[in-house]
Amino acid sequence: MTNAQQAKIQVRNLSKVFGSDTKKALQLRDQGLNRSQILEQTGQTLGLSNIDFDVHEGELLVIMGLSGSGKSTLIRCLNRLIEPTEGDIIIDGENIPQLSEKALLQCRRKHFSMVFQNFALFPHRTVRMNAEYGLEIRGIPKEERAKKAADALKQVGLEGWEDSYPNQLSGGMQQRVGLARALANDSSVLLMDEAFSALDPLIRRDMQQELIELQHRMQKTTIFITHDLDEALNIGDRIILLRDGEEVQIGTPEEILTSPADDYVARFTQGVDRSRVVTARRAMRPVRATARIEDGPRTVLRKMVESSLDSIYVIDRERKLLGVVDAEKADEAAKAGADSIRELIDDDYPCVGPDESLSRLYSMFTKRHCPIAVVDEEQRLLGVVVKGAVLEQLATAGEA
């Protein structure tokens, strides 16, 4: 999966030492000393050590860690708000740490827009002027930047607030301005530094949902920093876990939850609402029996009896799902002497994609008794999910 996707940013061997004698600190690091030992011996803080990862084009990558884990340092190294001590950050063939001051300026303008934890809106500028800031400093003509800023403000739902000042808006709305300022700039990467951490929980959820939708719509490569695992699992396509300036694990939310790299991650992931993260694929079972469209009612009945099913899914030659047949109906048809099940097929059946989260499946069980069909994009039947499997999955994942 990762090989097929194009890397937008490649980070290689990135390290950051805070202090004046950085070489010494890195030497000690290479000798195997840890962060606190290095601090004790040299007075230097090892902020980041040997960070390696790719950011794929169009993905939402979450960098997660507790305070002091180096996540803010990491995101600031990407656009060199903090100078990295060693390592490469390659974006579109340019190695950011080696850029001259002038080239860095161009690189920041072209590639990076940033959204900040405490919004960092310019209080002396209106909402519109805030949104225009990135374009203004690039010397974009007035009409064009007015248009782009208006578009961006519309994207985040702030039409009509253009002439307000930031202090007249609520926290959630202020961060929308922050987001609009970043979007208007039309850079290729969006950096979000704890962007929702200062918001209250309800608004935070809304913003997360909106970010996910926005991201699907615009396919903008996004790097999102958070200390909140729930948030990371909720929005991330992939997650990088940091601890003490080191990478602990990289993976999809599900991988982090179901196969934690070590005890640290496992402890971290306890208490997470798994149903939102574990997907249908995991709870899915192979189908015990399926009916073919050519089958007659008697054949179908026999298949159901053999596998002790109340209903059976009907597929065509390509395993495409056509619908479901009820045992009762098949029985009636057989008694009436029908020779095809075509008329019996009910196309109102519960059906989800393999990446659907388990929490969505709960509500589907209440509607019908038949298991939930899991299909791929071509509507081919991959398997089914029964009620018991969902509960079992939640229970076992909790122990992992």
């Binding site: 600031r76 656009n79 708000l81 300026l105 161009q106 690189c107 920041r108 303008r109 990076f112 827009s113 940033m114 900040f116 934890q117 405490n118 960092a120 310019f122 209080p123 002396h124 800031y133 990135g134 203004e136 400093i137 690039r138 300022r181 700039n185 950096l191």
Partner: protein, 280 residues
Amino acid sequence: MNFEIPRIPLGSWIESGLNFLTTEFSGVTRAISRTTQAGINLLNDGLMWLPEWALLGLIVLLCWRLSGRRLAIGAALGLALIWNLGLWNPMIQTLTLVVIATLVAVVIALPLGILAAVSDRFYRVIMPVLDFMQTMPAFVYLIPAIPFFGIGSVSGIFATVIFAMPPAIRFTTLGIRQVPTELVEAADAFGSTRTQKLVKVQLPLSLPTLMGGINQTIMLSLSMVVIAAMIGANGLGSEVWRAIQRLRPGDGFEAGLAVVIMAMLLDRLTQSFRGRKRAK
């Protein structure tokens, strides 16, 4: 064990240094002197050209628009008293000196303050210099002013600028350094050049503090131009000076009262300007 440490001839070093400067740079000092004097004359004549009641009306109007009714009434009463006491012309002369000294001080202080905000090294160099400038007894500046610019208003302005400039520098630096890091980061993250960052973010956000510095400079200028009467600067100060020499406490008190009225008006006016900016 009883040997004498020779006295360090600090004073004579400074004097020979000053002598060197006055002789070598007499062309420069004379040019500065001429320009400043021309500025003083122009502003002074302009303000004098207006009839008293017209200028009084203008100032009251300004107070009313910038601050409100209370300051306007205060200004009207205060200025009328000064007029009545026959101190109108000395007041105009003092006002001229304050305005010019403040202008010069701010023009020099702004770039220095910005530089000190941006460069830590310059900050470490200039701060002790500012301490020196502010704590050295103000009278001392009067002495070298005379060989440079001769007796008169220009020397007064020279001494005043040195004495009144430090707060403008300090407040500019403070204001810029107080801009929240996140806002500076935001400006950087979008790829602002140094100048863009300064003009679009740092300076606008430090404006209230900066105005505070200018207010301080105006107040210090006022106190210094009065003292500068000792080296021939005209205005209310020379009225006080004359009263001292003739031992006439009544005259001295009247002129002193006029200075107090001016100080209050200037202070309230600049503060209301500062408040307005913040409220916006």
